[in-house]
């Protein structure tokens, strides 16, 4: 079953320069889309598709048609209703056709109603296996339901149930609701963190340029900190117990990288603002951002510069923010050469976690098969030289002095290593690190360090 979307022909003053046969000039040739066909769908409602397809009718050159067709294909795929989509572009013929009109056909294949989930992801230096099932496109309005559990190799468990729905429009948006239960560990201090929570997410995506998106989230979560060993620092033990965080989060992402893991060109910027204190017992304002910039020096050499930072303001009077809210620095994907959460003294009198931090990195990537044409190895593996710098601080009353202190005795490390890409979002790193500048109490790694994750600096 198919459907036909046609644009009535009402512009008659089109320039008649059709005699150019050169295919290069064909790209610049005036063109319009007369008809768009959608074939192969039965369940999905028309109005879900219309808003995406309307873009096709704005094309004014052949080149433009091809570009738009790709954008539309991507937008349709992002509805998560289709298994695959193929595009055919042909000269339109028939009674309604115009002299330089084209006919675009989208051949789609819908996903089955129920399908299983089995894949792996990586986050925060831990690999996860995801198992679960999902119901696709339940009523034809691009609404989905899924239940999944993820198990990590460090013992983190996460259970998640999610309902999501796409709202068609010129800015496409997606709402989703999650219920989750998460258990994670901090082995150095024998800590276990349990979380039970709900998350409502509203995602806005500028549909024409897929690289600008905004998320508005509400998160309500009950946290439980449990220190298992008598040897855990007492300051951390004092924070153990139950607390509720109820927060609104806003995430802005600009991503023009050509790959999420091993990019050649582009920039990435993500900023998160979080305000907690709508109910619950912790109140804070937390901002943090990450930025990455890539530039191709030569065919085989890529330069990456990154900078990130965060700032937390405690707004609470009775109950203070605890270690699950504060920042930690260090780890094989952020400040290399230090253990995960390895920066800062953990002796008895120091509070764990900090209220502000900054971290930066400079990478020079080299393709392993130097000088060869792009092949699989060059796409998946890179050698890199890196240099990391960063510091943590508590902002006191005297902002100026603490600000200079933050940038004075910073931590510095450098090294070489191999970076590998698995799938589209997992990054493996195996580095030989050497911490150059550090403070007493830091847990350093002087030698080989292995990291896996999706977020990196």
């Amino acid at each position: 079953m198919g459907n036909l979307f046609a644009k009535p022909y009402h512009e008659f003053n089109i320039d008649q320069k059709l005699s150019l046969q050169d295919s290069k000039l064909l790209e610049k040739k005036e063109a319009r889309v007369d008809q768009v066909h959608m074939l192969g769908y039965s369940k999905t409602k028309d109005f879900i598709l219309e808003s995406s397809i309307n873009l096709m009718f704005t094309s004014n050159s052949f080149n433009n048609i091809i570009k738009n067709a790709e954008t539309v294909r991507k937008n349709l795929m992002s509805l998560n209703c289709f298994e695959n989509i193929s595009v055919h572009i042909d000269v339109s013929s028939g009674s309604n056709s115009t002299p330089n009109g084209y006919k675009v056909t989208f051949n789609v294949q819908e996903l089955k109603l129920a399908s299983s989930i089995l894949h792996s992801i990586a986050r925060d230096n831990e690999g996860f296996v995801k198992l679960g099932f999902k119901l696709n496109n339940m009523t034809g309005h691009a609404n989905h339901f899924k239940i999944e559990s993820s198990l990590g190799n460090n013992g983190t468990q996460k259970y998640d149930a999610c309902i999501s729905k796409h709202i068609p429009g010129s800015i496409s948006s997606c709402t989703s609701g999650h219920i989750f239960k998460k258990k994670s560990y901090w082995n150095t201090v024998h800590g276990v963190f349990n979380e039970w929570g709900t998350l409502f997410d509203l995602l806005f995506l500028a549909s024409y340029k897929g690289h600008f998106s905004q998320n508005l989230q509400y998160e309500g979560v009950i946290r439980d900190i449990n220190m298992l060993s008598k040897n855990s620092p007492f300051k951390l033990r004092e924070e153990s117990g139950l607390s509720v965080k109820s927060s609104i989060k806003h995430i802005t992402t600009i991503d023009t990288r050509d790959s999420k893991v091993l990019a050649n060109e582009g920039a990435f910027f993500q900023m998160v603002m979080e305000v907690a204190g709508f109910g619950g017992d912790v109140k804070f304002l937390r901002n943090y951002f990450t930025s990455q910039f890539y530039s191709k020096i030569s065919k085989d050499v890529v330069f990456q510069g990154s900078f990130g930072g965060g700032f937390l303001t405690d707004l609470g009077t009775f109950k203070k923010v605890n270690m699950m809210d504060r920042f930690f620095l260090g780890g094989p994907m952020t400040l290399r050469g230090f253990q995960s959460r390895g920066i800062g003294n953990l002796s008895d009198n120091v509070v764990a976690g900090v209220t502000s931090y900054w971290v930066s990195a400079v990478h020079i990537y080299v393709k392993p098969l130097f000088g060869m044409e792009s092949n699989r190895i060059n796409e998946a593996i890179r050698l890199h030289l890196f240099c990391n710098a960063g510091n943590i601080s508590f902002f006191g009353k005297d902002t100026k002095s603490s600000f200079t202190k933050t940038f004075k005795d910073f931590r510095l490390s450098a090294g070489v290593g191999i970076v590998a890409r698995v799938g589209n979002s997992i990054r493996f790193e195996f580095n030989l690190c050497s911490p150059i500048q550090y403070s007493p109490g830091d847990r350093i790694v002087d030698g080989f360090q292995f990291g896996v994750g999706a977020n990196f600096i």
Binding site: I222, R237, S240, G241, G279
Partner: protein, 268 residues
């Protein structure tokens, strides 16, 4: 063999620990952590806290009391209050604290002979098994008390929705504890009968002595005082629990004696 090795290494560690404990004096700045007394604490926890405080006072050990709303979660043995932080050591619950003090050379039962030491252990086990469980029963399993007193007090430190959540889980834990010990299915009358029986045997054992073992107070006196004093002074829905104990005059007199001697105040 491997098992033996690990267990022996654990033993060595424990020996080392006790040795280190034994070497030094009672640490200065020892802090006792407990829940907030007026708004939060419940009868069973209150009894245990009072027992420990009384013991430490009897042994002449210095300590500071600090109230924390999350004392129960801070405890090295989750859910057990009170606990003490003595130097680098964290010790929770009455008996481990008594043992810890003993390893430092402070004991209230050194003057007892072997038979008396057995008596002491038996009565302490009896108090822990009966009085403590009766307190837990009244606090968590008696529907009316739970609704009127336990729930508002326990959830007072938590915001919504944690107040329901935390209380629900705590209650489930305490009920399964009672279930394992076979107390859950008892009726209130049966529970009070048990309390009556132990009071009678304690009363007989005390007779008209000053303390259970003569002129000097022991661990048992601290434990019994903690429980009886809390039961008598804690306002419950009806005074049946307190009345059961008040019927034994020499036990009440023991409480009065300990209170005036170690707390320099008079409530009873």
């Amino acid at each position: 063999m491997a098992d033996f090795k690990t267990s022996s290494s654990i033993l060595t560690k424990e020996c080392l620990r006790t040795q280190i404990c034994g070497e030094s004096e009672w640490p200065k700045n020892t802090v006792l952590y407990q829940p907030y007394e007026t708004e939060q604490i419940l009868l069973p926890d209150n009894s245990k806290c009072l027992s420990v405080k009384t013991f430490l006072k009897m042994a002449g050990l210095e300590f500071i009391v600090e109230a924390r709303e999350n004392a129960e979660y801070m405890s090295p043995h989750r859910g057990k209050v009170p606990f003490i932080k003595a130097g680098q050591f964290l010790v929770a619950d009455f008996e481990p604290i008594v043992n810890f003090a003993q390893s430092k050379g402070y004991s209230l039962s050194t003057h007892l002979d072997e038979a008396q030491k057995w008596d002491l252990r038996v009565y302490m086990a009896l108090v822990n098994n009966v009085l403590l469980n009766a307190e837990i029963y009244v606090t968590w399993n008696h529907e009316l008390t739970y609704k009127e007193l336990t729930k508002p007090r326990y959830s007072s430190v938590y915001p919504f929705p944690l107040n329901h959540w935390a209380t629900y889980y705590k209650r489930r834990e305490m009920l399964s504890h009672l279930d394992v010990l076979g107390w859950k299915k008892k009726t209130l009358d049966e529970v009070f009968k048990e309390v009556e029986r132990i009071c009678e045997s304690l009363s007989n054992f005390l007779a008209d002595k000053k303390y259970f073992f003569g002129e000097k107070p022991t661990d048992l006196d601290a434990l019994v005082f903690g429980h009886l004093f809390s039961i008598i002074t804690t306002p419950l829905l009806n005074n049946r629990f307190a009345a059961t104990i008040r019927a034994y005059d020499n036990l009440v007199q023991l409480c009065v004696r300990i209170e005036t001697e170690f707390y320099q105040s008079r409530i009873l």
